[in-house]
Symmetry: C2
DNA sequence: TAGATTGTTAATCGATTAACAATC
DNA sequence: TAGATTGTTAATCGATTAACAATC
């Protein structure tokens, strides 16, 4: 597939463009130029046009981009013109916060199932969704056909959780444990570690 | 300052190296080569050696790196050989999860003050720390000399929160609102948006 | 010493930027 | 049309990689 060789930084920026376009639609704006969008995001207009050109021609010379149209195109490109069910592993404080997070809505994702191995947590409901025994994970993930997961367990349990998820057919994992995890080729993984982000800033202070 | 022109990707990776070294110290390992560390992190050994060479010579030919020593050096470089107090803005679900987060410990940060504008939340205690009225933020941040903040308020309140923080002397902001925020030069900002990270993965599915 | 691994250089690779013809 | 902005090319810039002398 030719789109495979789109540079990774381009894909990362597309998600930022999409987020901005969603916001602009809410604001009622209909048209935007690469210049104006770039100013809002701190990205050059040339960069934006170049990024978009990997996928097609979405603008109109002399005018700019029709916001709704570009939004739909980016949703399609990023494959969030649908809703992905997420398997959440870990029903602690962080898991709770993730389930209550409002930001998934209309952005392509929803929490489909919650798992934990703590008998104290199994059976409880979070936002109407029952916490399931981790031992049921392979069965449930397969039955529901889930491809996306979030790992919100302690660092020392994270690799095991990831291994189980991968074995159950999960293809994309967002990991909140502050540790580098290994996955086989063909499985996507990203880590959210607030401390590394903070350390990244203190360097510059 | 010459260290200003160290490439940003290098600093990002240093935080990953530091995280791995902390883990290795816990495991009891004492020495590691760039090759072994690279294998663990999915980074080439040449990359690691090059990254470190921006700051000095930390290894020993034929042997590798003394893990504790390299850890201390990275802590110093990233300025986390101290503890930074964090001003947390927003005491909702996410704010709660951040206060209860165990990952800050021994990594250079602690929550120093919590602010919210909701009268329902002001005065309550989270982990022994009282939620303060947001109107007190400038005074408290200045008095405590805080330089680092975390924004955990809704998207529509985030820019205002950031403006107040910057006016109060904050120099580094970790933003959890799913929106691009503007800060003046000299202030660092990073955004944690799980949905953009997820969208980044679904592209490749 | 012999073997191993660093620190660093030079070459390669890839991403960003500037400029402008095309065109709405 | 005249003005504005796109899409794209070529040039620039920057980061990664490979290789190896230095050396523990």
């Amino acid at each position: 597939m030719s789109s495979r060789d789109v540079p990774a930084p381009v894909i990362r920026r597309l998600t930022i463009y999409l987020r901005a376009l969603m916001f602009l639609v809410d604001e009622g704006q209909e048209i935007i130029s690469s210049e104006e969008l770039g100013n809002k995001l701190g990205i050059s207009s040339a960069q934006i046009r170049k990024d978009l050109s990997y996928f097609g021609e979405f603008g109109k010379q002399g005018t700019g981009y029709e916001i709704r149209h570009l939004r739909e195109q980016l949703k399609r490109i990023l494959k969030v013109d649908r809703e992905w069910g997420i398997a959440l592993v870990g029903a602690g404080d962080l898991g709770h916060a993730i389930v209550h997070y409002e930001g998934f809505k209309n952005r392509g994702f929803y929490i489909a199932a919650i798992f934990d191995k703590d008998p104290q947590k199994i059976g409880r409901k979070i936002r109407g969704l029952e916490v399931l025994d981790s031992r049921l994970l392979p069965k449930v993930v397969k039955e529901m056909g889930l491809k996306v997961a979030i790992v919100a367990v302690p660092a020392n349990e994270a690799q095991k959780a990831v291994d189980t998820l991968v074995a159950s057919g999960i293809k994309a994992i967002l990991n909140y444990a502050p540790i580098t995890l290994n996955v086989p080729a063909g499985v996507q993984i990203r880590c959210i570690d607030p401390v590394t982000r903070l350390q990244n800033m203190t360097y510059y202070l």
